[in-house]
Subunit: 197 residues, 4 copies
Amino acid sequence: MNVKDPTDKKERIIDAAIKLFSEKGYHGATTALIAKEAGVSQGIIFHHFKNKEDLFFSLLKEKCNFFMVEFRKKVGNEQNALRKIEIALLTYVHLVQKDKKFFEMLIMQTTGSGLDLEKINKYGMMEAFRIIGEIVKEGIQQGVIRKISPEVAATCIFGMMDYNVMNWLLFGENFSLEETSKQVVDIFLRGIAKTTI
Amino acid sequence: MNVKDPTDKKERIIDAAIKLFSEKGYHGATTALIAKEAGVSQGIIFHHFKNKEDLFFSLLKEKCNFFMVEFRKKVGNEQNALRKIEIALLTYVHLVQKDKKFFEMLIMQTTGSGLDLEKINKYGMMEAFRIIGEIVKEGIQQGVIRKISPEVAATCIFGMMDYNVMNWLLFGENFSLEETSKQVVDIFLRGIAKTTI
Amino acid sequence: MNVKDPTDKKERIIDAAIKLFSEKGYHGATTALIAKEAGVSQGIIFHHFKNKEDLFFSLLKEKCNFFMVEFRKKVGNEQNALRKIEIALLTYVHLVQKDKKFFEMLIMQTTGSGLDLEKINKYGMMEAFRIIGEIVKEGIQQGVIRKISPEVAATCIFGMMDYNVMNWLLFGENFSLEETSKQVVDIFLRGIAKTTI
Amino acid sequence: MNVKDPTDKKERIIDAAIKLFSEKGYHGATTALIAKEAGVSQGIIFHHFKNKEDLFFSLLKEKCNFFMVEFRKKVGNEQNALRKIEIALLTYVHLVQKDKKFFEMLIMQTTGSGLDLEKINKYGMMEAFRIIGEIVKEGIQQGVIRKISPEVAATCIFGMMDYNVMNWLLFGENFSLEETSKQVVDIFLRGIAKTTI
DNA sequence: CATGAATGAGCGTTCATTCAT
DNA sequence: CATGAATGAACGCTCATTCAT
């Protein structure tokens, strides 16, 4: 009667996978554990996903696509490059707060899992990286950003933001992610701006 | 006959471990592989280290202690906080370049390996983190750095530097780490300085 | 709407099963694969057959019964035992050529599949074996065949023929099964005949 | 103290494998069962053999090499091709009787296991097949064998012998393999000989 | 101290079979 | 009758760790 029933199970697998991947890492989260957490049999995971790696990357792909859409929606109307970056980063923070478990997984597994990093980047954050680089280029043309390498700038801001988020996810939550993020953005914008405001 | 033989073996294990952990990740580097690479028996690893995790953290601890000494030596005589930070970061870059394999391991395994992150930080970079925080505090007192959270600032600079180094380790080496690091330091210092220089 | 639909499906299952059993062996041919090849659901296989083994033996039984009828029809009118054997064997060759896939399955799975060999023989070739034995007995009574054990003779001819066919199925088809079969029959008949012709 | 101890375990694995492969087929003989039968842990199988398939082919290779040596030794001194064949076949029968379990495995798994038949032949009986073909050629040159295809003749004799042995292994042992084998050889030799003796 | 064969729990994955729809 | 998602026991195989030598 409920058409959503089958999807329901797939969704429960996805949720359980995100939870366990972030809590225990790629290797620590066994398929048996994921199945148990999702309340399904082990076998059904392999109906919906080719294998464990496919499960992992499916999560990544799906979520990241969704985020990119959000990203562009928010940034779209703004003209000033510095404002654009600010909006983009605060959007990122909001997404993190709304989808904590997923970002825990994403950041925790970005390296070290033994998974193909190129795939992680391809399905994951490469696009966001590229977008920030583009905005920096715009800012340089607009004359509001110093002549710096867009790639270096993008690397910087992702490093800053991710470490800040990581801190929050791991040790924090006793500080306001929003508050510290504003400080991070401030440091970055001052660091790249042509004139100090 | 040779008294140095056992130390020799331990060292060979350490070198092999660093090489394989960085190349294949914590899980990909099996103890059997490490023993083979080191040219020792599997069993002897467990004479020198309690278990695989202990081997990993021993590497971390030992190297990081060495780095901290280097760090303090270089920074020690400088008075100006901004210069101190600059020196600290460039020292970091030099250490990375001298000990690529180890940093590959450190950065690649910081997350995702399923290892206890608190332990990694404890034996690893927590100290460096604390040092940078201290310098930022000094800078604020000296009036050369804006009133910002030392923790946030430290988080930022480590994020920027590590992502920059990661890029270099993973995709790069076709760009100069030294050159991009200078840009990173520049962005950071401008971002936190009280007045633009 | 179409009354023949169910039979149709059963037949499609049978055809798919023969194809896949012969191509991939008993274990390689999964029920899921058979269902897909037949264009039916997995579940329906178990409406028509008790289980996978039952499916296998049903194929065997059905086909073999058909072959026995053919066999007797061809051999029926002949009086001379040696001629009878010759006809029987050439009939066998024609059946093989007409129904290659099935014999591929039969010969390939006669051993090694882990299936109960007694069952295979029971539903399969035991009858043919018995028939040849009978003809040999007749031949001995007629005085055209030496006093040999009918069972041994039957074993011989089936071994010769099957290995010849197996060669053809596996490696051959670049030689004429008909031509080599005639040589095989010739060797056998000379081997058992009372006087060389 | 006993240098043979490690080999002992490998040998116990080999014996258990031959026993179970022949009794239950390649798929029925699980590695767990083989380990249990051998009284060893599951893991150790994979110390000595790359994987299950390797275990199977190692058995084949080792034994078959040994048999080929025996074969040549026995046949070596004989000049007359017909006698050579007779000796070869009776040698085969003796080997079968001495090493029943192994031949049970060999014949049972020749087809149907889903294993690569070319490999089975390569490590297994291809060599014997070739040898018989050679002897037939000699016999034709000697003028004691009719002008027949050596390949067809070899196929015939292997088919006859194997089916006879199979009968004995499966149902028999209530008849003398030696006795029936002589009848088989007799039928074959008369079938291929130039003049009836 | 040193060895490496041995262990065995646990991994990801498969698949014949079932059953709610 | 028909479906195919769901099951779960069992598979081949791995690997950190142990221990007799």
